[in-house]
Amino acid sequence: MQVLYGRHHVRVFRFGLRLVRDEQIAEDLISEVFLDVWRQAGKFEGRSAVSTWLLAITRFKALSALRRRKDVELDDKAANAIEDTSDDPEVAVQKKDASEALRRCLTALSPEHREIVDLVYYHEKSVEEVAEIVAIPENTVKTRLFYARKKLAGLLKTAGIERGWP
């Protein structure tokens, strides 16, 4: 368990943190995730990578944690309401830093879009693995990421950054 924890806990924490946006809750999440793994090790079928299994459990736990928090709704409207309020994309672009603005816009995506962007770009999961983690069909995975990227491009455009796409 120590080896497994040592190898995966940081990525599990970051994935959880991006979903719940609260360090305390994210830390509680990883304890719960690995405890579940400890209890259910026999159920792991080995058909997917351990990290895929862990991320799927983390996602499930994160969504449950969010549901427990009465002040947080899962729809885009509420998610946007809990976005980082220190700087919006327009402010970020004033810093004349396109990379910084891009990161701000990535943070401003809806939870559904953030999740898929992170799974593909940061956790480097294939279409099949994302489908397994998020429990959606593979075609939905592809279209969801496409529209997440389109939303991102829209946010950047609003912030005054043109990247030539779309």
Binding site: Y5, S31, W38, R39, V117, E124, S126, L145, L152
Partner: protein
């Protein structure tokens, strides 16, 4: 041809456009990878979109890496919870019998009936062969078990321990692969984790030097094993 990247705002994306992010992260299969490569080579608009994707990819990594790591508290909480769990004893034989039970449970009644029939036929054949051998050797003289004087008499001072080894698994080894390896070798982890090295014990009987060397060679050839050395 510029048909690959459609006018995105108005139309549905093409399959190739949707695969671009996975091409950037290197997680496409070879066939799709080639399709995307070919499309990128002939469509500058698509190549432009791909450049934007590479920026998104880099910044997503940057953003996530800036999130830091959990405190020690999370680990302490986890291991305290594990310590509080009821003790579990994992038995290889139970594991194997569970697998056998699962295997048979997965068979259809018809397959099971056929298997049982074949088993009965095999038993009858075996009985026939044994009977034939006995009848053939009926005039053979009896032999009693006795001390063979041409073998040296040796006695171990104590029960010999089963062989042990220090094993490091490959970084991409999956838990399921490791479990399967342990089952195949009738091995159990008796100590581990320190520096990524695990102390494994093989079976429940002692082995000769050559046998242990052979075992280590076999282990070393396993795809998920990066190091295997005999140990005490």
């Amino acid at each position: 041809m510029m048909a690959t990247s459609k006018k995105i705002l108005e139309q549905e994306p093409t399959e190739i456009e949707m695969l671009l992010p996975w091409h950037a992260t290197g997680t496409l299969n070879a066939r799709d990878g080639r399709r995307v490569d070919e499309a990128l080579a002939r469509d500058p608009q698509l190549a432009k979109q791909y450049a934007a994707i590479r920026e998104e990819y880099a910044e997503t990594i940057h953003l996530n890496e800036s999130l830091g790591a959990p405190s020690v508290r999370a680990m302490q909480k986890l291991f305290a919870a594990i310590d509080g769990e009821p003790a579990r004893k994992r038995s290889v034989s139970l594991d194997i019998s569970a697998r056998i039970a699962r295997f048979f449970a997965g068979l259809s009644p018809r397959t099971l009936a056929w298997s049982a029939g074949l088993g009965a036929v095999a038993l009858l054949l075996q009985a026939g062969v044994i009977g034939a051998v006995l009848v053939k050797n009926q005039n053979a003289s009896f032999q009693t078990a006795s001390l063979s004087t041409d073998q040296p008499i040796t006695r171990a001072l104590g029960p010999e321990a089963p062989p042990r080894a220090l094993v490091r698994f490959a970084p991409d080894a999956r838990v399921a692969d490791i479990t399967a390896l342990l089952d195949n070798y009738h091995a159990s982890i008796i100590d581990g984790g320190n520096g990524g090295l695990f102390r494994l014990q093989f079976g429940d009987r002692a082995m000769g030097k050559d046998e242990i060397a052979g075992l280590m060679r076999k282990l070393q050839k396993e795809k998920i094993v990066s190091l295997a050395v005999a140990a005490q």
